[in-house]
Symmetry: C2
Subunit: 154 residues, 2 copies
DNA sequence: TGAGTTATGTAATAATATAACATTTCTTGG
DNA sequence: CCAAGAAATGTTATATTATTACATAACTCA
């Protein structure tokens, strides 16, 4: 639960990082892409495509392909992840730096925490090696209760 | 790859097991439920809801709620799993016996193998415990190439 | 500048899933 | 057996999520 922290800071930092990454890669961090990424970061949970669509009034002509194309760009460049079990999107909390991340999804406060533990990655690698399976992409999403949301629930 | 094995046997066995489980639990394994489970098992990959719908001609009036309700029943009773990354459904290969299963999805032959390794389950438990997160449900889906589909691909 | 590329706009539609209510089928106590 | 009541299925409509195809606009760089 991040209820009380100064959240504008997270958004700002995420945007700055994204901007830097795009610069480094020669990608265009357009107004639309910036705005969508801001909207995604404006809570610590996940954002649904059609909610983003609704919130993209003003300058941006908001139709589904606009949002999905932007989400594609952000995902391809590691700035956003899709949460398959929710059909929703979260900002990547450490772009460029990770491989094999997974997500802790709190069903009480709806926050999504992204984790990159080598222990999990190792276990996954061992397991797939044992089956002689060559993994390309892993979806690991754990739904439950975060630390702060366990109070009084046992 | 199960290309050459006598697949009718798998279907039959899955149906028999499901029938037994429903009997034991006082659940009704109706014609519709049996037929949907058969269709799901008729390949080793996964089945999409609307494909099931198409294949449910004949006796069954095939409209979306018919299929989704049946899938709900089968999932609730552990006979079928949903693969979130594919929006598709697979028969459970060991109903009743498992907890914490995960899926190896071959993007070449489309087969889905269900695995229940305690090593993975342990790693997951350690990881979530470390974060003080209480997991309720885990989605773990690994897309890649199965043993038989790696030939000639490096 | 202007030709080529990349990004965005727009309309239509596909794919996945659920809500709400009617009807049928099954079960079970009387 | 027979009528509640419960469970399952039928039916219509609609919600939600995502893509295709083609038009226009903005940017790049020679
Ligand atoms: Zn990430
Ligand atoms: Zn929480
Ligand atoms: Zn299973
Ligand atoms: Zn394969």
């Amino acid at each position: 639960m991040y209820g009380s922290h100064e959240h504008a800071h997270c958004v700002e930092e995420a945007i700055n990082t994204a901007s830097r990454i795009c610069d480094e890669r020669g990608l265009r961090f357009t107004g639309l892409r910036r705005r969508v990424l801001e909207l995604i970061w404006e809570n610590h949970g996940s954002a649904k495509a059609y909610d983003l669509l609704e919130n993209l009034g003003g300058d941006y002509s908001a139709k589904p392909p606009t949002v999905y194309r932007t989400l594609d760009f952000l995902q391809e460049n590691g700035l956003v992840h899709k949460i398959n079990s929710l059909n929703a999107y979260v900002g990547c909390s450490h772009p460029l730096q990770h491989k094999d991340c997974f997500f802790l999804i709190c069903s009480a406060c709806n926050e999504v925490e992204e984790c990159c533990g080598t222990a999990m990655a190792d276990a996954l690698r061992d397991m797939t090696a044992k089956q002689d399976f060559k993994p390309d992409h892993t979806t690991l999403e754990i739904e439950g209760r975060c630390h702060d949301c366990q109070a009084g629930v046992q």
